[in-house]
């Protein structure tokens, strides 16, 4: 009995279409994710002269990346798992990786949109301009940075089954990242804390983003931060995939 299975590319295309429709229908949540970085760019206008445009933009992008990974991705995965959406897909003739690949591609698109929104906001609110090379490299680095928070979100949704607990945990981690990361970066919490924050996922991502905006300032410290960022991603992704269950029933 000859049975033909659909092409993986066609399956991925269908999943992507459904996931982009979902993203569009949830556009209010998307706008909220984009508004926080815009507020940062607007309200940190005074820091442009002292800390530099790259500092302001990199912090704004980092905050947006944290929101996308911890709030958007994590919550949508937890909700669909709870509703049985994944189980329905799993009994279809598709490779399981395509389900997650589609979700991640949509999130990566959102990361690129966030980066564009921050660049435009930076130009309009604070008159920040960077070199063409800086903008291009930042697009790539924002994906690398986004991967850390998406994989951290995967850890949360992998370790915790209940969707309400996932949401509250993600909010808590998001809040911790904002408070500790942002205020630590600014030195409000002391010098030792500032140094420690430098090597957290917040600090390393912010560092590589700042350096990508001004490629001439890329240093060995930035390279270490990049390697650490990749390391965090590998560790979080490994644990997140290992712990993840398609169903919480």
């Amino acid at each position: 009995m000859e049975i033909t299975i659909p092409k993986t590319s066609a399956v991925l295309k269908a999943l992507l279409k459904a996931d982009y429709i979902t993203l569009w229908r949830n556009r209010r949540a998307t706008i909220m994710v984009l508004i926080v970085p815009m507020i940062i760019v607007f309200s940190w206008k005074s820091l442009v002269a002292t800390a530099g445009g790259a500092f302001v933009l990199s912090n704004a992008i980092t905050l947006g990346l944290v929101a996308i990974g911890l709030m958007g991705y994590t919550n949508s995965i937890a909700r669909d798992r709870d509703k049985g959406v994944f189980q329905r897909l799993r009994v279809s003739p598709l490779p399981l990786w395509t389900i997650m690949a589609s979700r991640l591609i949509v999130q990566l698109s959102l990361i690129l949109l966030l980066t564009v929104v921050v660049f435009i906001s930076g130009y309009n609110f604070d008159h920040i301009t960077m070199s063409i090379g800086g903008y291009i490299i930042t697009f790539l680095i924002s994906i690398v940075g986004g991967a850390v928070y998406l994989s951290l979100g995967q850890v949360i949704v992998g370790r915790i089954q209940n969707p309400e607990t996932v949401t509250s945990t993600a909010r808590l981690v998001y809040f911790a990242f904002i408070m500790v990361g942002m205020f630590g970066e600014l030195g409000v919490l002391g010098d030792q804390f500032k140094t420690a924050v430098d090597w957290t996922p917040y600090g390393t991502v912010k560092d590589i983003l700042a350096a990508s905006l001004e490629p001439s300032k890329w240093s060995s410290h930035t390279t270490t931060a990049l390697l650490l960022t990749l390391g965090y991603t590998v560790v979080f992704a490994t644990l997140g995939i290992k712990w993840f269950k398609w169903s919480n029933k």
């Binding site: 066609a10 429709i21 169903s247």
Partner: protein, 260 residues
Amino acid sequence: MDAIQQNNILQVDNLNVFYGNFQAVNNVSFYVKQGEIFGLLGPNGAGKTSTLSAIEGLIKQQSGTVTVAGYDTLKNPLHARAAMGVQLQATSFQPELNVAEILELYASIYGLKLTPERLRALLKEINLAEAENKKFGQLSGGQQQRVSLAITTIHDPKLVLLDEPTSGLDPQSRRQLWSRIDTIREKGNSIVLTTHSMEEAEAVCDRISIIDHGRLIATGTPQSLIDKHRDDPHVIAVSRRGKITLEDVFIALTGLEIRA
């Protein structure tokens, strides 16, 4: 594979499924022939859904083989799943998608192109022509059931697996579903369904198996099981109206105590 097995659209051999130390399915073997409607009956927690889940590939068996349309579900999972249409006990779709989008998504996943004409015909077929733009969550239980079955059979699968398909449906919707099940069989496709309803098993199934504590304890046509156990004192003892029914046989074989 011998000639008899080649005719079987589903072949389950010595299937064992464990959840930790708990054995949910214990050495279960059965087959389903082409064009046959096979019912899996059992009390709550008897192992029906676990057996079905192993066939569907949702859980991995510890031992035993499952072959769908000649494809081993572990060795060729995608081919096996392409030959199946599955309706889970609780089905849901992305709540943001409307009925038309859900149908398009699943048609594409099965490698089908759903033209606007075909989509309209499909919606008309399931009496949901007006619900094209409604979200799945806005539909009634019966309407959700019809969308779900339409997706299950959208690719004209050789084997359709229905896990308690009439649970929670009113008599009209149940009868409509039974007639759709008959239509699937008329096309030469096979169906495996789990149910608690003895009435449904007698009305729809060609053959049934009764499963309890993970083991198959009886297999045959509904009438053959009644005939076989008609004179069993346990069956006579639980009979309520003097006439032996499939439910009497089921209760006598699985016991009277309520399961979790």
